[in-house]
């Protein structure tokens, strides 16, 4: 059986140009299809509906919480602190790597057991590797009851004056 060697045959310039154009068109189409597939793929993996719990929590009446008291909400992962300026809903999740901090009432501080970060009761970093202070959530009084909305992160000094 003889090999039909197409490489040995001369190719006209027009044919070469045509091949180049078709090659560009083909690889362009392939790249576009690949891009489209990737986008659809990420969209598919992106959950549109989440069965996560409501992030709004009713806590109690503001007059029941004296100045200086820290209300620990372990399930909600929030500390409600009555500072001199007002109520602050501070997250209990460490800004370092998301471990749960714990309130140490003797030292009056929040402490992260994972990597040893320390915060004061306003959420400022006083030790350890934490890169920034603990963020605060929105607090409002709704029909005389304090309500925290943990889906709304406010500016770092946000307090509710009552």
């Amino acid at each position: 059986m003889a090999l039909i060697d197409d490489l040995a045959e001369a190719t006209p310039q027009l044919e070469l140009d045509r091949r180049k154009a078709l090659g560009l068109l083909g690889s362009g189409a392939l790249a576009l299809a690949g891009l489209g597939t990737s986008i659809v793929g990420v969209q598919y993996l992106w959950p549109n509906v989440l069965f996560e719990e409501d992030k709004r929590y009713k806590i109690g009446r503001p007059e029941d919480i004296p100045v200086g008291q820290v209300v620990v909400l372990p399930r909600e992962k929030i500390y409600l602190v009555h500072l001199n300026e007002g109520f602050a809903a501070i997250t209990a999740v460490c800004t370092h790597l998301g471990c749960m901090t714990r309130y140490e009432s003797e030292e009056r501080r929040f402490f992260c057991p994972c990597h040893g970060s320390v915060y004061d009761l306003e959420g400022n970093v006083t030790g350890g590797p934490a890169p920034k202070k603990l963020p605060r959530f929105q607090v409002v009084v709704d029909k005389g009851v304090l309500m925290i909305d943990a889906s709304k992160v406010m500016d770092p000094d946000f307090v509710l004056k009552v």
């Binding site: 372990p74 399930r75 992962k77 370092h96 790597l97 471990c99 749960m100 714990r102 402490f111 992260c112 057991p113 994972c114 990597h115 040893g116 350890g128 590797p129 890169p131």
Partner: protein, 217 residues
């Protein structure tokens, strides 16, 4: 055949970068049975070791996951404890993304940047002072960088840096390629960080002594 005397074909043949097995030099044996039997024995030895281990030592299982209580200390498996120890010194972006990324990137490009000091050793008599100044300038700069930027001075990185740089500048050991020294530094850092993370860290990620307080898991 049509004569094409006016056309000269030049074919450039590039040598393939693939080694040939020079069969003549090396003593060889038949793969079956010599290699196959060795493989079988190695696999059986490994299996016996792992089965014995599994019979006498139970894998840990703690209580049901509870998102509101973080255990103290919360330790990852041993091969992540070097990384976890590093997280104690820097913000997550640096120790969790930047430094591991640099290390993995450096590992991947090692074979493409084989600056061979073996053919041009440090101690070949030319520019020795300049080279030494370059090495120690970099060492001092890196030491300062790792000392001042971290939350605590990163001794598990600075120590290995000096432990690598000192033999590197000695005439006896200096005949090694640069990737060798960089790899050695990475390796010593990884070992130091992992050993500290596994044995010397306890509640609150404070230092403990394993022979006094036991090993925290």
């Amino acid at each position: 055949m049509t004569p094409h005397s006016d056309i000269t074909h030049i074919t450039v043949v590039q040598g393939e970068a693939r080694p040939l097995v020079d069969a003549a030099e090396e003593p060889q044996v038949m793969t079956f049975p010599h290699l196959v039997v060795r493989e079988l024995i190695a696999f059986l030895a490994l299996s016996i070791f792992l089965v014995t281990l599994s019979l006498v030592w139970d894998a840990p299982l703690e209580e049901l996951a509870n998102p509101s209580v973080a255990p103290n200390p919360a330790k990852a498996p041993w091969y992540f404890l070097g990384l976890q120890e590093l997280l104690h010194y820097y913000a997550p972006f640096i120790s969790g993304v930047l430094l591991p990324g640099v290390v993995i990137g450096a590992l991947a490009v090692i074979p493409y940047f084989d600056i061979n000091l073996e053919r041009k050793p440090l101690w070949d008599g030319t520019h020795t002072r300049l080279k030494l100044a370059g090495i120690w300038g970099s060492v001092v700069a890196l030491t300062a960088l790792f000392y001042f930027t971290a939350a605590h001075p990163v001794w598990p990185i600075i120590g290995p840096l000096w432990a690598t740089a000192i033999p590197m500048s000695l005439p006896v050991f200096g005949r090694r390629s640069l990737p060798f020294w960089i790899f050695l530094w990475f390796l010593l850092c990884a070992i130091a960080l992992t050993v500290i993370g596994v044995f010397f860290r306890g509640p609150g990620w404070e230092y403990t002594l394993p022979w006094r307080d036991g090993i925290y898991t």
